[in-house]
């Protein structure tokens, strides 16, 4: 059974159709890439799944749940987390605290318990910190843990965001252009890291990415979008030889 089922989703902003009846599924434990030219609607879909945008039509099912019935802040508890195309860290928090925010949805202690440090607040705090440190260690960032995250290199901040997303214990991890702005060696490292995270944490991954070498090497399925519609779907090899995909990326020959 599909883990995420995107069923005929449409999003309109005024007269502009950002997503036009998009449908596809992601199988549990797989990496699915979403590719297409700029403005194809890839990030819009992320925003629909994380409930930032309200779709005008369609359904979203995630392991039996209707995601569109949940408010945005309950999406991570359901098991869906994302990263952002433009870095979305919290500059006022240290690196490790940023990662600990990722654990918000599955930790306890509100306005009443936290000031008095009622149990389980203190022990949980230790656990959350230890877990965040473990994720940072996995990304080779443990030495930066207590630094403010402002002013760190771009690639480093991207990895912090990945660690933060992992701290929410996702079943489905949605990565929005994780390789953008990274050097060649960093991209190779990232591809390895994503694969490793997927295997050790039994993740499914929805990947939006322009770095085609990475997409084709790690994805099991590729969904190609253009102008808010799905124009192709299949294995990396199938998609690469699909004329519609070539046309969307390169245009039609002038003959």
């Amino acid at each position: 059974m599909a883990l995420l089922e995107v069923d005929n989703i449409s999003v309109r902003f005024g007269g502009i159709v950002a997503l036009d009846g998009l449908s596809f599924t992601i199988e549990a434990g797989s990496i699915c890439a979403l590719i297409g030219p700029n403005g194809a609607g890839k990030t819009t879909l992320f925003n629909v799944v994380s409930r930032v945008y309200e779709p005008s039509a369609g359904h979203l099912r995630f392991s039996g749940l209707d995601l569109l019935e949940l408010p945005p802040h309950q999406i991570p508890r359901a098991g869906v987390t994302r990263t952002f195309q433009n870095l979305a860290l919290f500059p006022g928090l240290s690196v490790v605290e940023n990662v600990m925010v990722g654990a918000h949805s599955h930790s306890k202690g509100g306005f009443a318990a936290s000031p008095f440090r009622f149990p389980p607040v203190p022990s949980q705090e230790k656990e959350l910190r230890a877990e965040a440190m473990a994720y940072l260690g996995q990304m080779h960032l443990a030495h930066l843990a207590n630094r403010p995250c402002a002013g760190l290199p771009y690639g480093t901040m991207k990895r912090i965001e990945l660690a933060r997303a992992m701290a929410s214990h996702p079943k489905l991890l949605m990565l929005d252009e994780p390789a953008s702005g990274l050097t060649h060696s960093e991209v190779d490292e990232l591809a390895g890291l994503i694969g490793a995270l997927k295997d050790t944490h039994e993740l499914s991954i929805l990947l939006v990415e322009h770095h085609m070498a990475m997409v084709m090497s790690i994805s099991e399925k590729v969904v190609v979008m253009d102008f808010g519609r799905k124009i192709a779907e299949g294995t990396p090899a199938e998609v690469q030889s699909n004329p519609a995909v070539i046309e969307a990326y390169l245009g039609t020959p002038l003959t």
Binding site: H73, G92, V101, S105, H140, H143
Partner: protein, 353 residues
């Protein structure tokens, strides 16, 4: 698995211990805390009556500033309505003590509940509006409060306010006095008792807010301030947190108002006008936005800043105050605490170099 992901040219730094504050810095901090505690405890025993009263006023204002700092500094919501929440606390205490002879602590608790409820209601628009627009809603509250006090003069004493009679005022309870006498051999004067009462309440409030900010809730508050959408996407119920913070912040301001009346023995509407809201915001900024001791420093500066200016020309005081504020903001946007932190960092660096 990390080995598979790590490219060979990058040094593996994951085993490095994260930087910890060195032992010397920790020791100096501990010494500072102890000295601070001794000074705070000794103050009323060494100072005259009027100084002690003024310091109690500082403590009262500090708690209100603490509340505003939680809202504005840590959660990024601006309120110019905190004079009204302070006023709610002040009037709850004044009315209950003058009309019903209630014990002070009870009046403070009632003040907290009422202010929390009003704070939540005023914070509700934060679900839809933010920033300057929210500030406008709170501005309306600040403008309304003194008018409401005058309108319901039967309850509040109108524009002359409520003055606590000698028998209604907060005085040193006999057991406390006996205990103090057995320890030191002298009486604990009423103004000294009030100072200690305010000190205990303020310290409790500061510790609780610090715990809150250093918890999961605090991280969520800062996350909301810094970047609202990702905070929500990571599971923070942004609306609920904003409204709850408004309530808690209002509650703290009301505690400040209660303490203020306990110390001043009166509540007058003109002391809880918009001007006070601006002063509270100023104290937040002067002390240091989003710092833990900033509110106390800001409150101290607020009460004592006028002493720094020449007394022969009181008309220059606002000008000098404004200039001081501008210069401080240029030198240190982090306020006095920010300035101290810069100095501290420089000190630590030069020591270790």
């Amino acid at each position: 698995m990390t080995a598979a992901a790590a490219p060979s040219e990058l040094p593996d730094t994951s085993s490095e211990v994260p930087t910890r504050p060195n032992r010397k810095a920790l020791m100096i901090k501990t010494v500072l805390c102890v000295v601070g505690a001794v000074v705070l405890i000794q103050m009323p025993l060494l100072m005259d009556r009027s100084t002690t009263q003024r310091l109690t006023q500082v403590l009262a204002i500090a708690v209100a500033v603490l509340g505003l700092n939680l809202l504005t500094g840590f959660n990024g919501q601006i309120s110019v309505g905190h004079s009204a929440f302070m006023g709610i606390g002040a009037y709850a205490t004044a009315i209950m003590m003058a009309r019903h002879e209630s014990p002070f602590i009870l009046t403070m608790m009632v003040a907290m509940v009422v202010a929390f409820a009003v704070g939540v209601v005023v914070g509700l628009p934060a679900l839809r509006i933010r920033g300057v627009y929210l500030a406008l809603v709170t501005l309306a509250l600040a403008a309304m409060f003194p008018q409401l006090v005058v309108r319901f003069s039967g309850l509040t004493g109108g524009s002359t306010g409520i003055t606590l009679e000698d028998t209604q005022q907060v005085t040193t309870p006999q057991p406390v006095n006996d205990l103090f006498k057995s320890l030191t051999g002298s009486r604990l004067l009423d103004n000294q008792y009030r100072y200690y009462l305010a000190l205990v309440v303020a310290v409790v409030c500061f510790v609780l807010v610090r715990n809150l900010v250093k918890s999961r809730v605090g991280r969520a508050l800062i996350a909301i301030r810094d970047n609202e959408t990702p905070a929500e996407v990571l599971g923070v119920n942004v609306g609920a947190y904003k409204v709850a913070t408004f309530g808690v912040s209002a509650m703290l301001a009301a505690i400040g108002g209660s303490l203020f009346v306990m110390n001043a023995d009166q509540a007058v509407p003109s002391e809880f006008g918009i001007q006070v809201s601006i002063e509270l915001l100023t104290a937040v900024v002067v002390g240091g936005v989003a710092t833990f001791v900033g509110p106390a420093v800001g409150a101290l500066a607020l009460v004592y800043v006028s002493d720094l200016f020449p007394k022969e020309h009181p008309e220059y005081a606002p000008v000098l105050f404004g200039l001081t504020l501008i210069v401080l903001m240029i030198i240190s946007p982090g306020g006095i605490v920010g300035l101290a932190k810069q100095g501290w960092a420089r000190l630590v660096r030069s020591r270790s170099a």
